[in-house]
């Protein structure tokens, strides 16, 4: 029998990017919150600038809970699912400890994919097997929450649209924001300047992207030192605005947040009336029951669906909040593959820098260009960034110029290690009927519980965007002086990704969505879900800031409507 703990107002499952943000408005409102985190506290000193450990051996992801419950993956239900790695890490702060920290708002079109596509091009342009819906609200509804998160955790960036005033130094395609970013953008570099100048010659509008990385002293944290090792590395000076160094300490300071580390939640418990009563978790060899008036599920996309499916009861025989059969549906993982890699004839000075120090092109994203004569909807954000480390530099493409070993190869990398660059192209990715998450019938975690099974592949729409975006990226690199270009294939399987969406989609229609417009389950009114698992579209940019804005919004709504939700 589990040990019963004293009841709390709110229990949050997972103190990562989303749960770690939600804790702040809740505790500020005076609610007592227990935060259950599967990992522990990490110190900035844990993140040595060590490419082998962090980048090649994936130390942050391999030491904790996620490693034992990585999803299995298959393209279709006709093939066997195979377990791969888990892209996320467990810690207070979660993967916001070591992410790239690119912190985009979605563009207004991303909220209205169905209605805007229908209005401009006709309903038949929505891929027939896609289950995409409009969000239950538009960009304007989320704008105040984007703003709150940007100022709470500290986003550096250059605004392109403040209350309708367009500034071409920023993204001219973004939705109107109420004010500038709290900090100027990260500095440019010789390479990003080179790419920016090339884009302007092409008539495009380059701009430096937004990042949850301090560009100046912010809230007592020092600015970015540009030393590199940001990718899968935490920040040695806390310039990266992980929730572990921003919102979570502030929530703790209210006296209302109790953080429980190394707590593996195994089940959300519900009663015969269909209400959540609390959660069961394992810590060490002990099992605890934490009663709570409200449960907020804020683990990662794969675990959000998994935990609901593992939490069946008499009222929910197919998994909690799953009587409509929607848990695990509308899954997507962002199409970020099919990069373009370029070789230049001069050093790019990219040994120091970071993936969030880059220059973006948004001309070919979302519906920022006319699709009338194209065979896809949506598009891609093009991103050229700094950051180069010696082992990965030595593993650079040889562009077919030499074999990849021996004296010729050695001479090649000695000359070209700092002359190559690979783009980051994020594409609109849609949900499809045959793509979903469920429980793997064979593979179990160390506790004997089934892991998540991903069944998903890209559609023609994603592959066509890939080809289109690669052509634009090639044009950009060539204009900047690249002498060789390699374009990689688009891939097929929607594998485990740091950009995973859906499974608990948000929408007004309870027959096709798990949570309502405020993030609470249609079938379980005191169960909220946080994270990108509630997002119904991907946009063509990183999801974290949107997941955080949604989490803040759900938390504020909960605090404002405490009696009706907590019951």
């Amino acid at each position: 029998m589990p040990t019963n703990l004293p009841a709390t107002d709110v229990v949050i499952i997972g103190l990562g990017a989303a749960g770690g943000v939600a804790a702040l408005p809740l505790t500020n409102a005076g609610l007592k919150v227990v935060g259950l985190e599967a990992g522990g506290w990490l110190d900035p000193r844990d993140f040595a600038p060590d490419e082998l450990r962090n980048g090649q051996r994936n130390w942050p992801q391999t030491v904790q809970k996620t490693a034992g419950e990585a999803p299995t993956v298959r393209a279709t239900s006709a093939t066997e699912a195979v377990q791969g790695g888990h892209p996320m890490m467990n810690a207070v702060g979660g993967t916001s400890m070591h992410y790239w920290a690119q912190s985009w708002r979605l563009n207004p079109w991303d909220f209205k994919v169905v209605s805007e596509t229908t209005r401009r091009y006709g309903a038949d342009r929505i891929p027939r097997d896609s289950t995409v819906e409009d969000w239950p609200f538009g960009y304007e509804e989320l704008e105040p929450y984007y703003d709150k998160v940007e100022y709470a955790i500290g986003i550096s960036g250059q605004a392109g649209n403040v209350q309708g005033r367009i500034n071409p130094a920023g993204n001219i395609f973004e939705g109107a924001r109420q004010r500038e970013y709290p900090m100027q953008a990260l500095r440019s570099s010789p390479f990003t300047d080179l790419m920016g100048a090339a884009a302007r010659r092409l008539g495009w509008n380059p701009f430096q992207g937004p990042a949850a990385i301090a560009s100046e002293v912010f809230d007592g944290r020092p600015p970015c030192q540009y030393h590199g090792f940001c990718n899968t590395g935490g920040c040695h000076v806390q310039a990266k605005g992980s929730t572990a160094f921003t919102s979570i300490p502030k929530a703790i300071a209210t006296g209302n947040l109790d953080v429980v580390t190394f707590a593996r939640v195994t089940r959300i418990v519900s009663d015969a009336n269909g209400r959540a009563t609390g959660v069961e978790y394992v810590k060490g060899s002990e099992v605890f029951f934490q009663p709570a008036a409200v449960v907020l599920l804020a683990s990662y996309t794969y675990e959000n669906s998994r935990l609901l499916l593992l939490s069946s009861s008499a009222a929910f025989p197919n998994g909690l909040a799953n009587n409509a059969g929607q848990v695990g549906r509308h899954y997507m993982s962002h199409h970020q593959g099919a990069p373009v890699t370029a070789l230049f004839d001069r050093d790019l000075h990219n040994w120091y820098g970071l993936p969030a120090q880059g220059v973006a092109i948004d001309e070919w994203a979302d519906d920022n260009f006319d699709h009338a004569d194209l065979d896809f909807i949506g598009g891609a954000n093009l991103w050229a960034h700094t950051d180069r480390q010696p082992m990965s530099a030595a593993k650079m493409s040889t562009f077919g110029l030499v074999n990849n070993w021996g004296s010729d190869w050695k001479a090649f990398i000695m000359k070209n290690a700092d002359r190559t660059n690979s783009s980051y192209i994020q594409k609109t990715t849609l949900p499809y009927r045959d793509n979903y998450l469920d429980l793997d019938p064979n593979v179990k975690d160390p506790y004997g519980q089934p892991v998540t099974r991903i069944t998903a592949r890209y559609g023609d729409n994603e592959k066509r965007i890939s080809a289109y975006a690669q052509a634009k990226m090639e044009q950009w690199y060539l204009e900047a002086g690249a002498i060789k270009i390699i374009k990689s294939g688009p891939g097929n399987v929607m594998g485990a990704s740091t950009h995973a969406y859906g499974g608990t989609r948000m929408g007004d229609n309870a027959a096709t969505n798990v949570v309502d417009r405020w993030g609470f389950a249609h079938e379980v009114p005191n169960l909220g879900v946080l994270g990108a698992s509630v997002m119904g579209t991907s946009g063509s940019r990183n999801p974290t800031l949107t997941a955080q804005a949604l989490a803040w919004r759900t938390a504020e709504y909960l605090a404002a409507n405490w009696r009706s939700i907590a019951g």
């Binding site: 000193r45 082998l52 040695h236 070993w405």
Partner: protein, 246 residues
């Protein structure tokens, strides 16, 4: 575990002075000298190997005071010759063997890459047998040209006796050889920062200014491991602020 080194004689032992460490490079040098001076019987045998394409003294590959933790001597001989063929010591400077990539690989097979140990056992013995069958000599005694031809066949996936295949083994060894040549020296490779100097990578720094990365700037190599920086050495007396931890 990766990152653990209990060899008190190692210059990279975690208990060396982390705060002020001016003598680290000297320690590295002296360790190499010690290794070269104390030639064991086994190392003498390696020294007699014909490795015409290289100027490396095989005695330096594994200084005697740092054990082969996993590989047998025969495996080490073969692997050293593979590493030397992949990243040769040549007119452009030192290669994988001077960087002691084999030492890195040996240590990694006892830790992070332990799951690959059996593949090395099968693959290196298969390569040795192919060499003996074709040329009447073990792989490490072949001419550079014969070694290159065998590696090319391995990469083309046409050599038998590998599990799962020779190209798979080739790619793994190539990756590990690059890792061992260009990794942080803490892990036993990139000896004397040879790999980073080859790439003109200026080294681990805790920050880089605009002037440091400006066009035309050429930062001098600082020859610093991440763990030469006191802040990342975990055995310091720093206690941290753990009060908020539950």
């Amino acid at each position: 575990m990766a990152g653990t080194n209990n060899n008190k004689n190692s210059p990279l032992s975690p208990d060396h002075d982390q705060v002020a460490n001016p003598s680290r490079r000297n320690l590295l040098k002296s360790a190499g000298l010690v290794g070269a001076a104390a030639v064991s019987g086994a190392a003498s045998q390696m020294a007699s190997a014909q490795t015409p394409a290289t100027t490396v003294n095989p005695q330096d590959l594994i200084p005697t005071r740092e054990a082969l933790e996993v590989l047998t001597l025969a495996e080490a001989e073969t692997l050293a010759a593979v590493c030397d063929t992949l990243i040769p010591s040549d007119d452009n400077g030192p290669g994988a063997n001077e960087a002691r990539a084999i030492h890195y690989i040996d240590r990694s097979l006892a830790s992070h890459n332990a799951a690959d140990r059996f593949r090395y056992l099968i693959g290196l013995s298969a390569l040795r047998e192919h060499a003996t069958k074709q040329h009447g000599k073990p792989f490490h005694q072949l001419s550079a040209g014969d070694r290159q031809a065998l590696l090319q066949a391995m990469q083309d996936d046409t050599l038998s006796g590998f599990d799962p295949g020779s190209a798979n083994f080739f790619n793994m060894v190539r990756n590990h050889t690059i890792d061992g040549t260009f990794c942080d020296p803490y892990y036993g490779g990139n000896h004397h920062f040879i790999g980073w100097d080859l790439l003109q990578y200026p080294g681990v720094r805790l920050g880089a200014s605009e002037a440091d990365v400006a066009l035309g700037a050429r930062l001098p190599a600082n020859h610093q491991s991440a763990y030469d920086h006191a802040t990342y050495v975990k055995t310091s007396t720093y206690m941290g602020d753990d009060d908020h931890a539950n």
